[in-house]
């Protein structure tokens, strides 16, 4: 094991994950998620995260359909979709996505179709952005492991 390479990668990982918290992509709940991963379940976080992204994709499609017809918007179905998305983004620590969902819910509550359309676009943008970021993070993890190192515990207070 090349300890210099491992140390560099670990440093890179640490800096990257800290930046994700600082930029508001992730919140403390992501740390909680990482606590649940161990040697027995080394892929737990990535499994859950990709399950979340799948949910995002499906829900966004459904909600997009609900919003299609200007005079026939199913706000009840929209509300249900936003509720689910808010719940899962909250559980994963996807801070920006969650925040958009909060605004989205408000638009649903007052039946503001234009507002909902904007929020839908934003949710789509945010989850895809997060997906890219987390894929990068998981890549770094893999590189560390392949170089024979261990993934650092990062304490975000």
């Amino acid at each position: 094991m090349n300890t210099t390479v491992v140390a560099q990668l670990q440093r890179q990982f640490q800096d990257y994950i800290v930046s994700l918290y600082q930029q508001g992509f992730l919140d403390n709940q992501f740390s909680e998620l990482r606590k649940l991963q161990d040697e027995g379940t080394p892929d737990f976080v990535s499994e859950v995260v990709f399950l979340f992204f799948d949910d995002c994709s499906k829900l966004i499609n459904t909600m997009s359909t609900s919003l299609e017809q200007p005079d026939n918007v199913d706000f009840k179905q929209l509300d249900s979709g936003v509720h689910q998305l808010k719940g899962s983004s909250s559980s994963v620590g996807a801070k920006r996505v969650k925040n958009v969902c909060i605004s989205f819910k408000e638009c649903c509550d007052v039946q503001n179709r234009e507002g909902c359309l904007r929020c839908l676009q934003q949710v789509d943008y945010e989850y895809k952005m997060l997906k890219t970021k987390l894929q990068e993070l998981f890549n770094l993890e893999q590189q560390i492991l392949q170089a024979g190192g261990t993934i650092p515990q990062v304490d975000i207070s």
Binding site: Q29, E32, K35, L36, D38, T41, F44, E47, V48, L51, F52, D55, H83, Q84, K86, G87, S88, S90, S91
Partner: protein, 224 residues
């Protein structure tokens, strides 16, 4: 030391969301529990062995084939589910003679004080706001211990086993009986009712931590 039960606590987790089931399952496993997950209240009742009569949803009877085969130490359920809500499930469990002693915990992503107090009044031990954290699950152990020790007391007593003088844990206690009251009873005795529900929950947590500390269990387990 006393009798240390080697078998894990078995928790039945109920949630209609696959994502949430995965989360709660992992949380519980990480807390050293055995977990069974189901996606609805009716499946939960089926698993317990309560036959749900399709014609009369209010009629519950214990299925003769699946009676008490699986020992469940706790039920943790989402509140918002299609069909049977977590609250409905809670009611059915508490109405059943066979299963009312199983502690029930409700989870919800929404902080609605009226909802929380309704559940607690119906007999829920805890109400967790989602996302549930590992730290939240440490509150479950006292409730699960209650059922394990109760089962111990119903078995024929051997010298090495735990002796509990009264099987009805909720009755008036003497020093050798586990002093555990269902949460809502504790609350009444503490006269915390006028508090807002969110404070109530916090207060209950405090009540638990002061009265339900480990030393009490150790006393029980060492007494012969």
């Amino acid at each position: 030391m006393g009798v240390e039960t080697e078998s894990k606590f078995h928790v039945l987790a109920v949630d209609d969301s696959l994502f949430d089931r995965k989360m709660i399952e992992r949380l519980l496993q990480k807390s050293s529990c055995q977990v069974t997950t189901v996606d609805s209240g009716s499946k939960a009742l089926e698993f317990l062995g309560l036959r749900v009569d399709d014609n009369d949803p209010n009629a519950l009877s214990t299925s003769p084939q699946i009676h008490q085969e699986v020992e469940i130490n706790l039920i943790i359920t989402d509140y918002c589910m299609p069909g049977m809500t977590g609250y409905d499930l809670l009611k059915k469990v508490k109405e059943s003679a066979a299963f009312r002693s199983i502690p029930v915990v409700i989870m919800s992503s929404e902080n609605v004080p009226a909802r929380i107090s309704r559940c607690l009044e119906e007999g829920a031990e805890e109400f967790f706001l989602k996302p549930v954290k590992l730290a939240d699950l440490t509150k479950l152990k006292p409730h699960m211990m209650k059922t394990k020790l109760k089962k111990e007391s119903e078995k024929p007593v051997a010298i090495e086993e735990i002796v509990v003088s009264k099987p009805e844990i909720e009755k008036e206690e003497d020093s050798s009986v586990i002093e555990i009251l269902p949460l809502h009873q504790e609350l009444e005795s503490e006269q915390l009712e006028p508090m807002l529900c969110s404070n109530k929950r916090k207060a209950m947590e405090e009540v638990i931590s002061t009265d339900r500390s480990r030393p009490k269990y150790n006393d029980i387990t060492t007494s012969v």
